[in-house]
Amino acid sequence: MAIDTIEKTAKQIVLTVQDYSLFAHRAVMNLFHPPRYWVDFLLQCDIIGVGSTAIVLLSGFFTGGVLALQSASTLSEFGASNLTGRFVSLTMIRELGPVLTGVMVSGRNASSMASELGSMIVTEQIDAMRALGVDPMRKLVTPRIFACVSMLLFLTILADFFGILGGAFVTVFMNHQDGLQYFSTAWEALRYPDIVQGLVKPLFSGFIIASVGCFYGLRTTGGTEGVGRSTIQAVVSASVLIIVADFLLTQILLSLLSRL
């Protein structure tokens, strides 16, 4: 009995991974063939990009501040409290900026995509769209994925910038250290590989957020209860995948960039 359950679960996981791979492949390939829905792309850029700006700025600012608070006391034990700027900027740009932005945007947008598309499935709007001769993959999924990828790049840059500002705020006004020193160490420590690493990650996170959100949304079954289930699955899967992808990308990018 238990073996049957394990077998069934394993098959379901493999089937889901297969379906997701085909879904993601179709979504990407749609970009190379007309029709392309540029208006929907711009609309999604507004919803994902502009709509998520506030949460990304706030979370970036306060994360930078916390980093400065935590690092200052540790660094001062080694007489290196002047390196706070370097610590904050490197941590934000390499790691926390991309990951935190990904997780925040995932909480906001993967959930909204899954619930929106799920509701459309439940109310037969997706069937209506297909019946009217429009491919929901092209009209709904592809614009969301590419809008999310583009916007996450800019949101990550904003999160990095505001994280460094948050660190500066704590350093200057709470730790009473020199602001110029903070910014100069922050700037001097940065190398191109750090920036490349920080800007490659959001491309993957953006793809994960939108593709997972749309995938679970379009697989919704079971009425309004099913919409709730899809939303939870989308946020959990997207958040976990972002962290797993971050780990793998860090490994790959560190080995690639160290050779440069």
């Binding site: 109310t123 709007q125 069937d127 209506a128 001769g133």
Partner: protein, 284 residues
């Protein structure tokens, strides 16, 4: 399209042979079966919808009526059997290849399935907007379609502010705006009050008698089915009028499903005089 225009394939071309004179059915099901992780929803279903023919699909809830409708325009693929739409085999056609055929078909979903983030104008014009039709042409066509369903005043409203009956009428306008060659109605009167139901049935009749579009109408309301058979739309009076006593529309016929099987296919006279126990119980 004018009232005098023939429906798709209704009239033969000059010089055609006797065999070619047989008009192509708009829809042809042949031994169609489908199941979803369980017992079959439809089993060996075979029927056709001829040019200008209206088929009323009867059956209790959950018997597979909506599934049959979705199979008709390729929204679902059958496990076995063949579905032909406008003469083309669609059972295993790709989604992309199906789009041009679906555009020739209008479908009214059970709850309307209107896009709630779009206005009535954009809902009705959805197909035309995707085809990049100029705005002024769209507006004129939308006004025409809304006038047909007597909802001119809803042009710029959102579906959320419409009643259930109005939503169905907007859905009918959306299905008819492209002058489809086949219309599929999925329980258009389900859950509506008798007066609104009669209004919807009058619109279905208007489409049947004015444009002579073949259609499949799913319903479990016998009253609606019999009204369609025993009335015609009088375009001069602008309303439906009863046919002479004992007469029924010859192009309006019945199909009936029981547990996924087609158990009846015939006219009003046939269904009233059938010996089939299930049909008789359903009629009572």
């Amino acid at each position: 399209m004018s009232a005098s225009e023939p429906a798709n394939g209704a009239f033969p071309l000059p010089g055609q042979t006797a065999a070619a004179l047989e008009p192509t059915p708009a829809v042809a099901f042949e031994n169609v079966s489908i199941s979803f992780d369980g017992p079959p929803v439809l089993q060996d279903v075979t029927f056709t919808v001829g040019p200008a023919e209206t088929r009323i699909l009867l059956g209790p809830a959950g018997v597979g009526k909506s599934v049959l409708l979705k199979l008709t325009n390729g929204l679902l693929c059958p496990d076995h059997g063949s579905v032909r739409l406008f003469g083309e085999e669609i059972s295993h056609m790709s989604e992309q290849a199906l789009f041009p055929l679906r555009v020739r078909t209008g479908i009214v979903f059970q709850e309307g399935a209107l896009f709630d983030s779009l206005t009535v104008r954009d809902n009705v014009a959805y197909q035309l907007i995707q085809q990049m039709v100029p705005d002024e042409v769209i507006d004129a066509r939308v006004h025409e379609a809304l006038h047909f369903v007597e909802l001119d005043q809803t042009f710029s409203l959102f579906p959320g502010s419409l009643s259930g009956g109005m939503k169905r009428r907007v859905a009918i306008a959306r299905a008819l705006i492209g002058h489809p060659e086949l219309v599929l109605y999925d329980s258009p009167t389900g859950g509506l009050d008798p007066i609104t139901s009669t209004t919807i049935i009058e619109l279905v009749m208007k489409q049947r008698d004015f444009y002579r579009t073949p259609s499949i109408l799913v319903t479990h309301r016998l009253q609606d089915a019999f009204t369609l058979c025993t009335h015609r739309f009088d375009s001069e009076l602008g309303r439906m009028v009863p046919l002479p006593k004992g007469h029924a529309d010859p192009n309006t016929t019945f199909l009936m499903l029981e547990e996924g099987r087609l158990i009846f296919d015939g006219s009003l006279h046939d269904i009233v005089h059938t010996d089939n126990k299930f049909v008789r119980e359903f009629l009572l």
